[in-house]
């Protein structure tokens, strides 16, 4: 591992630490912010997430080697961690740290994008169901019931076996399309209660169209629970993607994803446990950070006084 890579790593760590400190300082100003940072690990969670986000974005800088490069298939196979390869090498003599860094791109990217798709769909469906009620509500919520009935992994397995080669984009889409059900219920509940508020009645009386009402008045107030849902949901998507890649139907080799790194290493867990240990720890760290942040957000937003009147 060369100097550039070490420097980049240090840089990422410093950025993460500074970001966490800055966030804490800024948040100390509001009550909600103080509540947020009162939760254990909230600050650490922000730091970890920032670190991995920076590392993922700056992957070419941080990674000393190309993730797919088989460095020396005779001498560098399954090497234990050392100064030149801080996380060791895997079965195909690829540097594990480089793979982890590029894998962060893939796993985090898939998580974020799939969650974006899920949030959009869930918010749209939930808002429509909650606002229009009656027929629309019934139909959409039955659809949600059907969606929740089939465990996600089985649906994904059916999809994977029918389409023999699932591209990255298709994978993100499928993950998103199978993950919006909980969000829609959440949004629907919020919208149902907001619907009866004075400011919505006023807007309707003034002749605003439903779309405008939903977008300008209702949805902004749903933002907080959506944010919590997002934080916790990304973790879920990442675990699902890891499971798919482990089963062999997610991200295809040689592209690195934390899930298929675990699959690659599973066969030598006795002889070279680091090949399985580090990607798993990475997933655990990121999902822990997401969970901690999501929990802290939920706690912080729960006791927030109603600020709905501000919107009109």
């Amino acid at each position: 591992m060369n100097l550039r890579a070490w420097l980049a790593l240090l840089g990422a760590l410093s950025v993460a630490w500074l970001a966490a400190r800055a966030a804490r300082r800024r948040a100390a100003g509001t009550a909600g912010g103080r509540r947020f940072f009162a939760s254990p690990f909230a600050g650490l969670g922000i730091g970890v997430l920032t670190f991995f986000a920076v590392v993922a974005v700056a992957a070419p800088l941080v990674a000393p080697f190309h993730p797919d490069r088989q460095l020396d298939i005779i001498d560098l196979v399954d090497r234990a961690p050392s100064w030149s390869h801080p996380l060791g090498t895997d079965l195909y003599s690829r540097d594990l740290w480089s793979r982890l860094v590029y894998g962060a791109r893939v796993s985090l990217g898939i998580g974020a994008l799939a969650m974006a798709v899920a949030l959009t769909l869930g918010a749209a469906v939930g808002a429509a169901a909650g606002y229009f009620r009656r027929a629309t509500d019934v139909v959409l919520m039955r659809l949600v019931d059907v969606g929740i009935a089939m465990p996600r992994l089985f649906l994904l397995i059916v999809a994977a076996s029918v389409w023999q080669h699932v591209s990255l984009g298709a994978l993100i889409l499928i993950l998103g399309v199978t993950g919006w059900f909980g969000t829609s219920r959440l949004v629907r509940a919020e919208v149902l209660s907001l619907r009866e508020r004075d400011f919505v009645t006023a807007a309707r009386a003034l002749g605003a169209r439903p779309g405008r009402i939903i977008f300008r008045h209702v949805l902004p107030n749903v933002a907080s629970p959506l944010l919590v849902s997002a934080a916790l949901g990304i973790g879920n998507v990442m675990l699902t993607e890891a499971a798919l890649s482990f089963l062999g139907i997610g991200v295809r080799p040689p592209t690195a994803s934390w899930g298929n790194m675990i699959a690659d290493g599973a066969g030598q867990i006795v002889g070279a446990p680091w090949t399985t240990l580090f990607p798993g720890l990475a997933i655990a760290l990121v999902v822990m950070a997401l969970n901690a942040t999501g929990d802290a957000l939920r706690d912080a937003l729960a006791a927030r006084p109603s600020s709905y009147e501000e919107e009109t």
Binding site: A149, R152, F154, S161, V162, F246, A266
Partner: protein, 327 residues
């Protein structure tokens, strides 16, 4: 109660029907050729005929759909490509194993999870609470299959406390007495069920902690405290009853989690259940098996949710009453 139950049943059946339809259309969105083999593909003509009967692609979609439904209604799930025998037979072998695993994991999940949650709430903000909170946070965030690999490495290979895979000791199982056979099965069940259950328990514990804290901060509890009732009695008698009610809703959520987890745990532990069957079938492109497993899983989830709803209604009469008023 009767009408409410009837409505729930009809809804459940409707959901299963919708899932069946969904999977049918999903199958037909993919390339058609895998189901109807090419001229030289050495599949038994018997197999081909039965598959064409169920999935025949030479007719209108609606005709195929009706045919598909009638086949399912007769319990005919077609023939597995790779096992050369009816899918129903393969499922019949596999489902009991998954039910046993999921059942045991459920016991661990709720047994351990509820206990931990109550303990954490009773000792809120202490070091025990913080420690348990960290542990549950870790377990909630860890990939189940990775945890399973580590568990096998430590408990199976290094410590030799438990066997590594399988449901029975194939050499000696049939020579055991009845009790011995049960013990043998339990010993093989321990590691997979514990791994799956502990991850679920972490989530249950957190949920239960919050629910119990809410219950503990209620007015009636404050009254009891003011009256001088011991803390232990407050927790055990007053708060617990109300705190356990939301746990029933968790039961409905736990099922999809357990079935999903079963796929991964069964693969890692070589446990011959429905999950492993589905995961193996991916590599055989064994569509009939994959489809049947997905359907079976959905039926289980719907049935479980129905059971949870009934349990909740029995436990909390308010639900039944308010349901009647709703449209």
């Amino acid at each position: 109660m009767g009408t409410w139950l009837a409505r729930r049943l009809i809804a459940a059946v409707a959901i299963v029907f919708a899932v069946v339809t969904l999977t049918f259309f999903l199958m037909h969105l993919g390339p058609a050729s895998p189901i109807v083999p090419s001229a030289e593909q050495p599949l038994d003509p018997d197999v081909v005929a039965r598959l064409r009967q169920q999935f025949g692609t030479d007719q209108a979609l609606s005709v195929q759909y009706v045919r598909y439904l009638t086949q399912l209604a007769h319990g005919n799930l077609a023939v597995s490509f790779s096992q050369r025998r009816p899918v129903a037979a393969a499922l019949a072998d596999a489902i009991p194993n998954t039910i046993v695993l999921a059942g045991a994991a459920l016991l661990v999940d709720f047994g351990l999870g509820l206990l931990l949650g109550v303990v954490m709430a009773a000792r809120a903000r202490s070091r025990l609470d913080a420690g348990l909170g960290n542990a549950t946070l870790f377990l909630r965030s860890v990939p189940t299959f990775w945890l399973a690999l580590i568990v096998i490495l430590v408990f199976g290979e290094r410590l030799h406390w438990f066997p590594v895979g399988g449901t029975i000791d194939i050499v000696r199982h049939h020579s055991f007495s009845f009790l011995g056979r049960i013990a043998d099965r339990l010993w093989h069940l321990a590691l997979p069920a514990l791994t799956l259950g502990v991850v679920g328990a972490a989530g249950t514990a957190r949920f239960q902690r919050n629910a119990t804290l809410d219950a503990l901060s209620a007015d009636y509890v404050r009254t009891a405290r003011a009256k001088g009732v011991t803390e232990r009695r407050i927790v055990a008698v007053h708060a617990l009853r109300n705190a356990l009610l939301p746990a029933i809703t968790l039961f409905g959520l736990a099922l999809p989690f357990l079935l999903t987890g079963a796929v991964l745990i069964e693969t890692v532990f070589a446990w011959p259940g429905m999950g492993k069957l589905a995961a193996d079938a991916i590599f055989s492109r064994d569509y009939p098996v994959v489809l049947a497993c997905a359907l079976a899983a959905s039926v289980m989830v719907v049935a479980g949710n129905l059971a949870a709803d009934v349990l909740y209604a029995v436990a909390d009469p308010r639900i039944r009453i308010t349901e009647r008023d709703r449209a």
